[in-house]
Subunit: 309 residues, 2 copies
Protein backbone atom coordinates (compact mmCIF):
# COMPACT_ATOMS: atom_id res chain seq x y z
CA UNK A 1 0.00 0.00 0.00
CA UNK A 2 1.31 3.41 -1.00
CA UNK A 3 2.05 5.58 2.01
CA UNK A 4 4.24 8.34 0.63
CA UNK A 5 4.31 10.96 -2.11
CA UNK A 6 6.87 13.41 -3.49
CA UNK A 7 6.01 17.03 -4.30
CA UNK A 8 8.55 18.75 -6.54
CA UNK A 9 8.47 22.47 -7.37
CA UNK A 10 10.92 23.35 -10.13
CA UNK A 11 12.08 26.96 -10.05
CA UNK A 12 14.58 28.88 -12.18
CA UNK A 13 17.32 28.64 -9.51
CA UNK A 14 16.44 25.76 -7.21
CA UNK A 15 14.16 22.76 -7.18
CA UNK A 16 12.15 22.41 -3.98
CA UNK A 17 11.70 18.77 -3.03
CA UNK A 18 9.08 17.61 -0.55
CA UNK A 19 8.58 14.15 0.92
CA UNK A 20 5.11 13.72 2.42
CA UNK A 21 2.76 11.03 3.61
CA UNK A 22 -0.41 10.66 1.57
CA UNK A 23 -2.39 12.56 4.23
CA UNK A 24 -0.25 15.55 3.31
CA UNK A 25 1.99 15.69 6.37
CA UNK A 26 5.41 16.95 5.40
CA UNK A 27 8.09 14.46 6.46
CA UNK A 28 11.09 16.23 4.98
CA UNK A 29 11.94 18.97 2.50
CA UNK A 30 15.17 20.00 0.79
CA UNK A 31 16.45 21.81 -2.28
CA UNK A 32 18.68 20.94 -5.22
CA UNK A 33 20.10 23.39 -7.77
CA UNK A 34 18.30 23.80 -11.11
CA UNK A 35 20.90 23.01 -13.78
CA UNK A 36 19.65 24.92 -16.80
CA UNK A 37 22.58 24.32 -19.19
CA UNK A 38 22.01 22.31 -22.41
CA UNK A 39 18.32 23.06 -22.58
CA UNK A 40 17.83 22.00 -18.98
CA UNK A 41 18.47 18.35 -19.86
CA UNK A 42 19.78 17.54 -16.36
CA UNK A 43 16.87 18.88 -14.38
CA UNK A 44 14.59 15.83 -14.38
CA UNK A 45 17.49 13.31 -14.04
CA UNK A 46 18.70 15.35 -11.02
CA UNK A 47 15.19 15.19 -9.52
CA UNK A 48 15.02 11.43 -10.17
CA UNK A 49 18.42 10.85 -8.55
CA UNK A 50 17.51 12.93 -5.50
CA UNK A 51 14.34 10.88 -5.06
CA UNK A 52 16.22 7.57 -5.43
CA UNK A 53 18.74 8.72 -2.80
CA UNK A 54 15.96 9.68 -0.40
CA UNK A 55 14.26 6.30 -0.81
CA UNK A 56 17.53 4.44 -0.28
CA UNK A 57 18.38 6.48 2.80
CA UNK A 58 14.95 5.99 4.36
CA UNK A 59 14.88 2.34 3.27
CA UNK A 60 11.55 2.77 1.49
CA UNK A 61 10.42 0.59 -1.39
CA UNK A 62 9.06 2.24 -4.56
CA UNK A 63 5.84 0.29 -4.10
CA UNK A 64 5.20 2.42 -1.03
CA UNK A 65 5.30 5.63 -3.09
CA UNK A 66 1.99 6.79 -4.59
CA UNK A 67 3.72 9.05 -7.06
CA UNK A 68 5.72 12.16 -7.87
CA UNK A 69 4.01 15.47 -8.61
CA UNK A 70 5.90 18.24 -10.36
CA UNK A 71 5.26 21.98 -10.72
CA UNK A 72 6.85 23.58 -13.78
CA UNK A 73 7.31 27.33 -14.45
CA UNK A 74 5.57 27.33 -17.83
CA UNK A 75 2.35 26.21 -19.53
CA UNK A 76 1.63 22.51 -18.94
CA UNK A 77 -1.49 20.93 -20.40
CA UNK A 78 -3.69 18.27 -18.82
CA UNK A 79 -1.58 15.47 -20.29
CA UNK A 80 1.60 16.78 -18.66
CA UNK A 81 3.09 18.28 -21.84
CA UNK A 82 5.07 21.47 -21.20
CA UNK A 83 4.79 24.06 -23.97
CA UNK A 84 8.14 25.84 -23.49
CA UNK A 85 9.46 26.81 -20.08
CA UNK A 86 11.88 29.60 -20.96
CA UNK A 87 13.30 29.86 -17.44
CA UNK A 88 14.45 26.24 -17.61
CA UNK A 89 15.51 26.19 -21.25
CA UNK A 90 12.81 23.59 -21.95
CA UNK A 91 10.98 23.19 -25.25
CA UNK A 92 7.95 20.98 -25.69
CA UNK A 93 7.86 17.48 -24.18
CA UNK A 94 5.83 15.31 -21.83
CA UNK A 95 7.21 15.92 -18.34
CA UNK A 96 4.94 13.34 -16.69
CA UNK A 97 6.08 10.56 -19.05
CA UNK A 98 9.74 11.53 -18.85
CA UNK A 99 9.88 11.51 -15.05
CA UNK A 100 7.87 8.28 -14.90
CA UNK A 101 10.39 6.58 -17.20
CA UNK A 102 13.34 7.96 -15.20
CA UNK A 103 12.04 6.79 -11.84
CA UNK A 104 9.64 3.93 -12.50
CA UNK A 105 7.18 5.83 -10.30
CA UNK A 106 3.92 7.36 -11.54
CA UNK A 107 4.55 11.08 -12.14
CA UNK A 108 2.32 14.00 -13.04
CA UNK A 109 3.23 17.57 -13.98
CA UNK A 110 1.33 20.85 -13.91
CA UNK A 111 2.00 24.57 -14.21
CA UNK A 112 3.57 25.92 -11.01
CA UNK A 113 0.87 28.55 -10.34
CA UNK A 114 -1.91 26.01 -10.92
CA UNK A 115 -0.16 23.49 -8.69
CA UNK A 116 0.25 26.12 -5.96
CA UNK A 117 -3.52 26.67 -6.09
CA UNK A 118 -4.01 22.96 -5.49
CA UNK A 119 -1.61 23.18 -2.53
CA UNK A 120 -3.51 26.06 -0.91
CA UNK A 121 -6.77 24.15 -1.40
CA UNK A 122 -5.34 21.02 0.20
CA UNK A 123 -3.34 22.36 3.12
CA UNK A 124 -3.45 26.16 3.00
CA UNK A 125 -5.78 29.14 2.95
CA UNK A 126 -8.28 27.45 0.63
CA UNK A 127 -9.00 24.41 2.78
CA UNK A 128 -12.63 23.35 2.59
CA UNK A 129 -13.18 24.87 -0.86
CA UNK A 130 -13.45 22.79 -4.02
CA UNK A 131 -14.00 25.73 -6.36
CA UNK A 132 -11.37 28.40 -5.81
CA UNK A 133 -8.99 30.72 -7.57
CA UNK A 134 -5.50 31.35 -6.29
CA UNK A 135 -4.08 34.76 -7.12
CA UNK A 136 -0.32 35.13 -6.70
CA UNK A 137 0.77 38.74 -6.39
CA UNK A 138 4.54 38.58 -6.84
CA UNK A 139 6.87 40.22 -9.36
CA UNK A 140 4.06 39.39 -11.78
CA UNK A 141 0.51 38.19 -11.22
CA UNK A 142 -0.07 34.45 -11.51
CA UNK A 143 -3.19 32.44 -11.07
CA UNK A 144 -4.50 28.95 -10.60
CA UNK A 145 -8.08 27.81 -10.91
CA UNK A 146 -9.58 24.83 -9.10
CA UNK A 147 -12.92 23.44 -10.31
CA UNK A 148 -14.54 20.63 -8.32
CA UNK A 149 -11.21 20.00 -6.61
CA UNK A 150 -9.28 19.70 -9.86
CA UNK A 151 -6.79 22.01 -11.55
CA UNK A 152 -7.97 23.82 -14.67
CA UNK A 153 -4.91 23.36 -16.90
CA UNK A 154 -6.48 24.79 -20.04
CA UNK A 155 -6.24 23.43 -23.56
CA UNK A 156 -2.65 24.63 -24.05
CA UNK A 157 -1.68 24.97 -20.39
CA UNK A 158 -2.60 28.66 -20.22
CA UNK A 159 -5.55 28.18 -17.84
CA UNK A 160 -5.56 30.68 -14.99
CA UNK A 161 -3.23 33.18 -16.68
CA UNK A 162 -5.16 35.90 -14.92
CA UNK A 163 -2.24 38.33 -14.80
CA UNK A 164 -2.94 39.05 -18.45
CA UNK A 165 -6.62 39.79 -18.48
CA UNK A 166 -7.30 43.22 -19.92
CA UNK A 167 -8.23 45.76 -17.25
CA UNK A 168 -7.50 49.24 -18.53
CA UNK A 169 -8.16 50.69 -22.00
CA UNK A 170 -6.08 53.81 -21.42
CA UNK A 171 -2.73 52.11 -20.70
CA UNK A 172 0.18 53.20 -22.92
CA UNK A 173 2.92 51.05 -21.32
CA UNK A 174 3.46 47.59 -22.80
CA UNK A 175 3.20 44.56 -20.48
CA UNK A 176 5.85 41.82 -20.55
CA UNK A 177 3.39 39.75 -22.60
CA UNK A 178 3.22 42.37 -25.36
CA UNK A 179 -0.31 43.63 -24.60
CA UNK A 180 -1.36 46.84 -22.87
CA UNK A 181 -3.51 47.22 -19.76
CA UNK A 182 -2.97 43.76 -18.21
CA UNK A 183 -3.94 43.19 -14.56
CA UNK A 184 -0.27 42.42 -13.82
CA UNK A 185 0.66 46.01 -14.73
CA UNK A 186 -1.17 47.26 -11.60
CA UNK A 187 -1.60 44.44 -9.11
CA UNK A 188 1.89 42.89 -9.01
CA UNK A 189 4.66 44.20 -6.73
CA UNK A 190 6.07 45.95 -9.80
CA UNK A 191 2.63 47.28 -10.68
CA UNK A 192 2.10 48.72 -7.20
CA UNK A 193 5.48 50.51 -7.43
CA UNK A 194 4.35 51.97 -10.74
CA UNK A 195 1.08 53.19 -9.19
CA UNK A 196 3.11 54.68 -6.32
CA UNK A 197 5.25 56.62 -8.79
CA UNK A 198 2.20 58.00 -10.58
CA UNK A 199 0.30 59.03 -7.45
CA UNK A 200 3.39 60.46 -5.72
CA UNK A 201 4.04 62.76 -8.69
CA UNK A 202 0.75 64.58 -8.24
CA UNK A 203 0.84 64.48 -4.43
CA UNK A 204 1.52 67.72 -2.57
CA UNK A 205 0.69 66.73 1.03
CA UNK A 206 2.85 65.07 3.66
CA UNK A 207 3.73 61.39 3.27
CA UNK A 208 5.92 58.73 4.81
CA UNK A 209 6.68 57.50 1.27
CA UNK A 210 10.20 58.62 0.31
CA UNK A 211 12.56 56.91 -2.17
CA UNK A 212 11.33 53.40 -1.42
CA UNK A 213 8.21 52.95 -3.54
CA UNK A 214 7.99 49.17 -3.08
CA UNK A 215 4.69 47.39 -2.43
CA UNK A 216 5.90 46.76 1.12
CA UNK A 217 6.62 50.45 1.70
CA UNK A 218 3.16 51.34 0.35
CA UNK A 219 1.30 48.92 2.64
CA UNK A 220 3.50 49.80 5.63
CA UNK A 221 2.41 53.38 4.93
CA UNK A 222 -1.23 52.31 4.76
CA UNK A 223 -0.92 50.68 8.18
CA UNK A 224 0.67 53.88 9.53
CA UNK A 225 -2.34 55.86 8.26
CA UNK A 226 -0.51 57.65 5.42
CA UNK A 227 -2.98 59.36 3.05
CA UNK A 228 -0.89 58.98 -0.13
CA UNK A 229 -0.34 55.29 0.55
CA UNK A 230 -4.08 54.83 1.04
CA UNK A 231 -4.73 56.52 -2.30
CA UNK A 232 -2.27 54.15 -4.01
CA UNK A 233 -3.85 51.15 -2.27
CA UNK A 234 -7.28 52.29 -3.45
CA UNK A 235 -6.11 52.41 -7.04
CA UNK A 236 -4.53 48.94 -6.66
CA UNK A 237 -7.73 47.60 -5.07
CA UNK A 238 -9.92 49.12 -7.79
CA UNK A 239 -7.90 47.37 -10.52
CA UNK A 240 -7.52 44.02 -8.76
CA UNK A 241 -11.14 43.94 -7.56
CA UNK A 242 -12.29 44.57 -11.12
CA UNK A 243 -10.14 41.71 -12.37
CA UNK A 244 -11.39 39.30 -9.71
CA UNK A 245 -14.99 40.30 -10.50
CA UNK A 246 -14.51 39.34 -14.13
CA UNK A 247 -12.98 36.00 -13.11
CA UNK A 248 -15.87 35.40 -10.69
CA UNK A 249 -18.43 35.94 -13.47
CA UNK A 250 -16.63 33.34 -15.58
CA UNK A 251 -15.86 30.53 -13.09
CA UNK A 252 -18.02 31.48 -10.05
CA UNK A 253 -15.63 30.28 -7.30
CA UNK A 254 -16.40 29.92 -3.60
CA UNK A 255 -13.21 31.76 -2.71
CA UNK A 256 -10.18 33.65 -3.95
CA UNK A 257 -6.96 32.88 -2.11
CA UNK A 258 -4.43 35.71 -2.33
CA UNK A 259 -0.75 34.78 -2.10
CA UNK A 260 2.67 35.93 -3.25
CA UNK A 261 4.98 38.57 -1.77
CA UNK A 262 2.38 41.36 -1.85
CA UNK A 263 0.02 39.26 0.28
CA UNK A 264 2.42 39.60 3.22
CA UNK A 265 0.68 42.93 3.82
CA UNK A 266 -2.11 40.76 5.24
CA UNK A 267 -5.80 41.40 5.83
CA UNK A 268 -5.44 45.13 5.12
CA UNK A 269 -5.39 44.23 1.40
CA UNK A 270 -8.94 42.89 1.47
CA UNK A 271 -10.38 46.22 2.58
CA UNK A 272 -9.11 47.70 -0.68
CA UNK A 273 -10.01 44.81 -2.98
CA UNK A 274 -13.51 43.98 -1.73
CA UNK A 275 -15.35 47.27 -2.48
CA UNK A 276 -14.20 47.16 -6.10
CA UNK A 277 -14.93 43.43 -6.38
CA UNK A 278 -18.49 44.01 -5.15
CA UNK A 279 -18.95 46.96 -7.49
CA UNK A 280 -18.09 45.00 -10.62
CA UNK A 281 -19.11 41.41 -9.90
CA UNK A 282 -22.29 39.77 -11.24
CA UNK A 283 -24.73 39.44 -8.32
CA UNK A 284 -24.96 35.65 -8.71
CA UNK A 285 -21.22 35.33 -8.05
CA UNK A 286 -20.99 37.93 -5.29
CA UNK A 287 -20.58 35.52 -2.39
CA UNK A 288 -16.97 34.61 -3.14
CA UNK A 289 -14.69 34.92 -0.11
CA UNK A 290 -11.35 36.74 -0.23
CA UNK A 291 -8.79 34.79 1.80
CA UNK A 292 -5.06 34.92 2.44
CA UNK A 293 -2.76 32.12 1.33
CA UNK A 294 -0.90 30.46 4.19
CA UNK A 295 1.71 28.13 2.68
CA UNK A 296 4.07 30.73 1.21
CA UNK A 297 6.79 29.17 -0.94
CA UNK A 298 5.75 25.65 0.04
CA UNK A 299 2.38 25.85 -1.77
CA UNK A 300 3.83 24.42 -4.99
CA UNK A 301 5.42 21.48 -3.18
CA UNK A 302 2.16 20.55 -1.42
CA UNK A 303 0.13 21.08 -4.59
CA UNK A 304 2.48 18.97 -6.70
CA UNK A 305 2.08 16.14 -4.20
CA UNK A 306 -1.71 16.50 -4.29
CA UNK A 307 -1.67 16.48 -8.10
CA UNK A 308 -0.51 12.89 -8.22
CA UNK A 309 -2.77 11.57 -5.47
CA UNK B 1 -29.58 -2.03 -21.03
CA UNK B 2 -30.45 1.65 -21.31
CA UNK B 3 -31.00 2.70 -24.90
CA UNK B 4 -32.84 6.01 -24.59
CA UNK B 5 -32.56 9.40 -22.93
CA UNK B 6 -34.80 12.45 -22.53
CA UNK B 7 -33.52 16.01 -23.02
CA UNK B 8 -35.80 18.68 -21.55
CA UNK B 9 -35.29 22.43 -22.05
CA UNK B 10 -37.57 24.48 -19.81
CA UNK B 11 -38.29 27.95 -21.17
CA UNK B 12 -40.51 30.74 -19.89
CA UNK B 13 -43.32 29.92 -22.37
CA UNK B 14 -42.82 26.34 -23.50
CA UNK B 15 -40.90 23.28 -22.45
CA UNK B 16 -38.99 21.63 -25.28
CA UNK B 17 -38.99 17.85 -24.91
CA UNK B 18 -36.57 15.61 -26.79
CA UNK B 19 -36.50 11.81 -26.96
CA UNK B 20 -33.14 10.50 -28.15
CA UNK B 21 -31.15 7.31 -28.28
CA UNK B 22 -27.98 7.32 -26.18
CA UNK B 23 -25.86 7.94 -29.28
CA UNK B 24 -27.63 11.31 -29.51
CA UNK B 25 -29.89 10.62 -32.47
CA UNK B 26 -33.13 12.52 -32.09
CA UNK B 27 -36.10 10.14 -32.26
CA UNK B 28 -38.84 12.65 -31.54
CA UNK B 29 -39.34 16.15 -30.19
CA UNK B 30 -42.40 18.07 -28.99
CA UNK B 31 -43.38 20.96 -26.77
CA UNK B 32 -45.64 21.41 -23.76
CA UNK B 33 -46.71 24.74 -22.24
CA UNK B 34 -44.81 26.07 -19.21
CA UNK B 35 -47.43 26.56 -16.48
CA UNK B 36 -45.92 29.24 -14.28
CA UNK B 37 -48.83 29.84 -11.89
CA UNK B 38 -48.45 29.01 -8.16
CA UNK B 39 -44.67 29.34 -8.18
CA UNK B 40 -44.38 27.05 -11.19
CA UNK B 41 -45.43 24.03 -9.11
CA UNK B 42 -46.89 22.21 -12.15
CA UNK B 43 -43.87 22.45 -14.41
CA UNK B 44 -41.98 19.35 -13.30
CA UNK B 45 -45.14 17.21 -12.81
CA UNK B 46 -46.16 18.20 -16.38
CA UNK B 47 -42.74 17.14 -17.65
CA UNK B 48 -42.98 13.85 -15.74
CA UNK B 49 -46.47 13.12 -17.13
CA UNK B 50 -45.38 13.90 -20.69
CA UNK B 51 -42.48 11.48 -20.34
CA UNK B 52 -44.71 8.73 -18.88
CA UNK B 53 -47.13 9.19 -21.78
CA UNK B 54 -44.33 8.93 -24.30
CA UNK B 55 -43.01 5.73 -22.72
CA UNK B 56 -46.48 4.19 -22.64
CA UNK B 57 -47.14 5.14 -26.25
CA UNK B 58 -43.83 3.75 -27.48
CA UNK B 59 -44.17 0.73 -25.17
CA UNK B 60 -40.76 1.34 -23.61
CA UNK B 61 -39.81 0.19 -20.14
CA UNK B 62 -38.22 2.66 -17.71
CA UNK B 63 -35.25 0.32 -17.40
CA UNK B 64 -34.44 1.17 -21.01
CA UNK B 65 -34.12 4.89 -20.19
CA UNK B 66 -30.67 6.11 -19.13
CA UNK B 67 -32.08 9.28 -17.63
CA UNK B 68 -33.70 12.67 -17.97
CA UNK B 69 -31.62 15.81 -18.38
CA UNK B 70 -33.13 19.22 -17.75
CA UNK B 71 -32.05 22.74 -18.68
CA UNK B 72 -33.40 25.48 -16.38
CA UNK B 73 -33.43 29.26 -17.07
CA UNK B 74 -31.63 30.23 -13.85
CA UNK B 75 -28.53 29.40 -11.83
CA UNK B 76 -28.23 25.67 -11.07
CA UNK B 77 -25.28 24.34 -9.10
CA UNK B 78 -23.44 21.08 -9.62
CA UNK B 79 -25.82 19.21 -7.30
CA UNK B 80 -28.87 20.23 -9.36
CA UNK B 81 -30.10 22.90 -6.94
CA UNK B 82 -31.71 25.87 -8.67
CA UNK B 83 -31.09 29.22 -6.97
CA UNK B 84 -34.21 31.09 -8.09
CA UNK B 85 -35.50 30.98 -11.66
CA UNK B 86 -37.58 34.17 -11.84
CA UNK B 87 -39.04 33.34 -15.27
CA UNK B 88 -40.58 30.15 -13.86
CA UNK B 89 -41.55 31.48 -10.45
CA UNK B 90 -39.18 28.99 -8.83
CA UNK B 91 -37.33 29.56 -5.57
CA UNK B 92 -34.54 27.30 -4.33
CA UNK B 93 -34.90 23.51 -4.53
CA UNK B 94 -33.17 20.45 -5.95
CA UNK B 95 -34.55 19.96 -9.48
CA UNK B 96 -32.62 16.73 -10.07
CA UNK B 97 -34.01 15.08 -6.93
CA UNK B 98 -37.55 16.34 -7.52
CA UNK B 99 -37.76 15.01 -11.08
CA UNK B 100 -36.13 11.74 -10.08
CA UNK B 101 -38.78 11.23 -7.38
CA UNK B 102 -41.60 12.15 -9.79
CA UNK B 103 -40.49 9.75 -12.51
CA UNK B 104 -38.44 7.05 -10.86
CA UNK B 105 -35.82 7.77 -13.54
CA UNK B 106 -32.39 9.26 -12.84
CA UNK B 107 -32.59 13.00 -13.57
CA UNK B 108 -30.02 15.79 -13.69
CA UNK B 109 -30.49 19.54 -14.06
CA UNK B 110 -28.24 22.36 -15.23
CA UNK B 111 -28.49 25.99 -16.23
CA UNK B 112 -29.95 26.33 -19.73
CA UNK B 113 -26.99 28.22 -21.22
CA UNK B 114 -24.51 25.75 -19.73
CA UNK B 115 -26.57 22.83 -21.00
CA UNK B 116 -26.75 24.39 -24.49
CA UNK B 117 -22.94 24.51 -24.48
CA UNK B 118 -22.87 20.80 -23.75
CA UNK B 119 -25.29 20.25 -26.66
CA UNK B 120 -23.12 22.17 -29.11
CA UNK B 121 -20.09 20.19 -27.94
CA UNK B 122 -21.89 16.87 -28.38
CA UNK B 123 -23.79 17.35 -31.61
CA UNK B 124 -23.25 20.92 -32.83
CA UNK B 125 -20.58 23.47 -33.76
CA UNK B 126 -18.25 22.43 -30.96
CA UNK B 127 -17.93 18.75 -31.91
CA UNK B 128 -14.43 17.45 -31.31
CA UNK B 129 -13.63 19.99 -28.57
CA UNK B 130 -13.54 19.08 -24.90
CA UNK B 131 -12.63 22.58 -23.69
CA UNK B 132 -14.94 25.16 -25.18
CA UNK B 133 -17.02 28.19 -24.38
CA UNK B 134 -20.45 28.72 -25.86
CA UNK B 135 -21.47 32.35 -26.29
CA UNK B 136 -25.17 32.95 -26.86
CA UNK B 137 -25.89 36.33 -28.42
CA UNK B 138 -29.64 36.74 -28.01
CA UNK B 139 -31.73 39.37 -26.25
CA UNK B 140 -28.99 39.13 -23.63
CA UNK B 141 -25.59 37.45 -23.69
CA UNK B 142 -25.39 34.01 -22.12
CA UNK B 143 -22.51 31.64 -21.79
CA UNK B 144 -21.63 28.07 -20.99
CA UNK B 145 -18.18 26.73 -20.25
CA UNK B 146 -17.06 23.17 -20.89
CA UNK B 147 -13.88 21.93 -19.21
CA UNK B 148 -12.62 18.43 -20.06
CA UNK B 149 -16.02 17.62 -21.53
CA UNK B 150 -17.91 18.69 -18.42
CA UNK B 151 -20.08 21.69 -17.69
CA UNK B 152 -18.66 24.31 -15.35
CA UNK B 153 -21.70 24.99 -13.15
CA UNK B 154 -19.91 27.22 -10.66
CA UNK B 155 -20.25 27.17 -6.89
CA UNK B 156 -23.68 28.86 -6.92
CA UNK B 157 -24.67 28.04 -10.50
CA UNK B 158 -23.34 31.33 -11.91
CA UNK B 159 -20.51 29.74 -13.91
CA UNK B 160 -20.29 31.08 -17.46
CA UNK B 161 -22.31 34.25 -16.76
CA UNK B 162 -20.12 35.98 -19.30
CA UNK B 163 -22.76 38.52 -20.32
CA UNK B 164 -21.93 40.36 -17.13
CA UNK B 165 -18.19 40.66 -17.28
CA UNK B 166 -17.12 44.28 -17.11
CA UNK B 167 -15.97 45.64 -20.45
CA UNK B 168 -16.29 49.41 -20.46
CA UNK B 169 -15.42 51.87 -17.67
CA UNK B 170 -17.16 54.80 -19.34
CA UNK B 171 -20.68 53.34 -19.49
CA UNK B 172 -23.41 55.44 -17.85
CA UNK B 173 -26.40 53.17 -18.67
CA UNK B 174 -27.28 50.50 -16.09
CA UNK B 175 -27.41 46.87 -17.22
CA UNK B 176 -30.33 44.61 -16.27
CA UNK B 177 -28.06 43.11 -13.59
CA UNK B 178 -27.56 46.48 -11.92
CA UNK B 179 -23.95 47.02 -12.96
CA UNK B 180 -22.56 49.31 -15.67
CA UNK B 181 -20.45 48.37 -18.68
CA UNK B 182 -21.39 44.66 -18.96
CA UNK B 183 -20.57 42.78 -22.17
CA UNK B 184 -24.31 42.21 -22.69
CA UNK B 185 -24.83 45.97 -23.09
CA UNK B 186 -22.94 45.86 -26.42
CA UNK B 187 -22.86 42.31 -27.78
CA UNK B 188 -26.51 41.22 -27.41
CA UNK B 189 -29.16 41.95 -30.04
CA UNK B 190 -30.32 44.79 -27.79
CA UNK B 191 -26.73 45.97 -27.36
CA UNK B 192 -26.13 46.05 -31.11
CA UNK B 193 -29.28 48.16 -31.58
CA UNK B 194 -27.93 50.53 -28.94
CA UNK B 195 -24.58 50.79 -30.75
CA UNK B 196 -26.49 51.42 -34.00
CA UNK B 197 -28.39 54.31 -32.39
CA UNK B 198 -25.17 55.87 -31.12
CA UNK B 199 -23.23 55.56 -34.39
CA UNK B 200 -26.19 56.64 -36.55
CA UNK B 201 -26.53 59.86 -34.56
CA UNK B 202 -23.08 61.07 -35.56
CA UNK B 203 -23.25 59.68 -39.12
CA UNK B 204 -23.63 62.13 -41.97
CA UNK B 205 -22.99 59.91 -45.01
CA UNK B 206 -25.34 57.66 -46.96
CA UNK B 207 -26.59 54.47 -45.34
CA UNK B 208 -29.10 51.67 -45.88
CA UNK B 209 -29.92 51.85 -42.17
CA UNK B 210 -33.27 53.60 -41.72
CA UNK B 211 -35.75 53.09 -38.84
CA UNK B 212 -34.94 49.43 -38.32
CA UNK B 213 -31.83 49.40 -36.11
CA UNK B 214 -32.02 45.70 -35.24
CA UNK B 215 -28.94 43.46 -35.17
CA UNK B 216 -30.28 41.78 -38.31
CA UNK B 217 -30.58 45.11 -40.14
CA UNK B 218 -27.04 46.02 -39.11
CA UNK B 219 -25.50 42.78 -40.40
CA UNK B 220 -27.64 42.80 -43.54
CA UNK B 221 -26.17 46.27 -44.09
CA UNK B 222 -22.65 44.95 -43.49
CA UNK B 223 -23.21 42.30 -46.17
CA UNK B 224 -24.46 44.99 -48.55
CA UNK B 225 -21.25 46.94 -47.96
CA UNK B 226 -22.81 49.77 -45.97
CA UNK B 227 -20.15 51.94 -44.29
CA UNK B 228 -22.20 52.87 -41.21
CA UNK B 229 -23.15 49.26 -40.59
CA UNK B 230 -19.49 48.27 -40.82
CA UNK B 231 -18.60 50.92 -38.25
CA UNK B 232 -21.26 49.56 -35.89
CA UNK B 233 -20.03 46.00 -36.45
CA UNK B 234 -16.48 47.09 -35.67
CA UNK B 235 -17.57 48.56 -32.36
CA UNK B 236 -19.51 45.36 -31.58
CA UNK B 237 -16.49 43.22 -32.53
CA UNK B 238 -14.12 45.34 -30.46
CA UNK B 239 -16.24 44.87 -27.33
CA UNK B 240 -17.03 41.18 -27.84
CA UNK B 241 -13.46 40.30 -28.88
CA UNK B 242 -12.17 41.97 -25.72
CA UNK B 243 -14.60 39.97 -23.61
CA UNK B 244 -13.67 36.66 -25.25
CA UNK B 245 -9.97 37.49 -24.79
CA UNK B 246 -10.47 37.87 -21.05
CA UNK B 247 -12.39 34.59 -20.89
CA UNK B 248 -9.62 32.87 -22.91
CA UNK B 249 -6.96 34.06 -20.44
CA UNK B 250 -8.98 32.55 -17.59
CA UNK B 251 -10.10 29.15 -18.97
CA UNK B 252 -7.92 28.75 -22.12
CA UNK B 253 -10.49 26.97 -24.34
CA UNK B 254 -9.82 25.28 -27.67
CA UNK B 255 -12.80 27.04 -29.20
CA UNK B 256 -15.58 29.57 -28.76
CA UNK B 257 -18.91 28.56 -30.27
CA UNK B 258 -21.10 31.55 -31.09
CA UNK B 259 -24.87 31.00 -31.06
CA UNK B 260 -28.13 32.84 -30.44
CA UNK B 261 -30.16 35.03 -32.78
CA UNK B 262 -27.29 37.40 -33.61
CA UNK B 263 -25.20 34.45 -34.84
CA UNK B 264 -27.61 34.01 -37.76
CA UNK B 265 -25.55 36.74 -39.44
CA UNK B 266 -23.03 33.92 -39.99
CA UNK B 267 -19.29 33.91 -40.67
CA UNK B 268 -19.22 37.67 -41.28
CA UNK B 269 -19.30 38.11 -37.49
CA UNK B 270 -15.92 36.46 -37.04
CA UNK B 271 -14.16 39.04 -39.19
CA UNK B 272 -15.20 41.68 -36.66
CA UNK B 273 -14.58 39.67 -33.49
CA UNK B 274 -11.22 38.09 -34.32
CA UNK B 275 -9.01 41.22 -34.69
CA UNK B 276 -10.09 42.48 -31.28
CA UNK B 277 -9.76 39.00 -29.73
CA UNK B 278 -6.19 38.74 -31.00
CA UNK B 279 -5.34 42.23 -29.82
CA UNK B 280 -6.36 41.57 -26.22
CA UNK B 281 -5.75 37.86 -25.65
CA UNK B 282 -2.76 36.44 -23.76
CA UNK B 283 -0.42 34.86 -26.33
CA UNK B 284 -0.59 31.44 -24.68
CA UNK B 285 -4.36 31.31 -25.25
CA UNK B 286 -4.34 32.83 -28.75
CA UNK B 287 -5.07 29.63 -30.65
CA UNK B 288 -8.76 29.44 -29.70
CA UNK B 289 -11.04 28.94 -32.71
CA UNK B 290 -14.15 31.04 -33.29
CA UNK B 291 -16.96 28.80 -34.56
CA UNK B 292 -20.65 29.12 -35.27
CA UNK B 293 -23.25 27.14 -33.33
CA UNK B 294 -25.32 24.81 -35.49
CA UNK B 295 -28.16 23.45 -33.31
CA UNK B 296 -30.17 26.65 -32.87
CA UNK B 297 -33.00 26.25 -30.36
CA UNK B 298 -32.38 22.49 -30.06
CA UNK B 299 -28.99 22.94 -28.36
CA UNK B 300 -30.51 22.88 -24.87
CA UNK B 301 -32.45 19.70 -25.58
CA UNK B 302 -29.37 17.86 -26.85
CA UNK B 303 -27.23 19.20 -24.02
CA UNK B 304 -29.76 18.24 -21.36
CA UNK B 305 -29.73 14.68 -22.72
CA UNK B 306 -25.92 14.64 -22.69
CA UNK B 307 -25.87 15.93 -19.10
CA UNK B 308 -27.44 12.76 -17.75
CA UNK B 309 -25.40 10.32 -19.86
Amino acid sequence: MAKYVFGVDIGGTTVKMGFLDIQGNLIDKWEIPTRKENGGENILPDVARSIEEKLTKENIDKAEVAGIGVGVPGPVDGAGVVHRAVNLGWGEFNVSEKLTSLTGIKSMAGNDANVAALGEMWKGGGQGYKNMVMVTLGTGVGGGIIIDGKMLAGSTGAGGEIGHIHIDDDETRTCGCGNKGCLEQYASATGISYLATVHKKSWSGATVLKDDLSAKAVFDGVKAGDALCKEIAEDFGEKLGKGLAVIASVVNPEAFVIGGGVSKAGEVLMGYIRPSFEKYVFHGAKGAKLLLATLGNDAGMYGAAKLVL
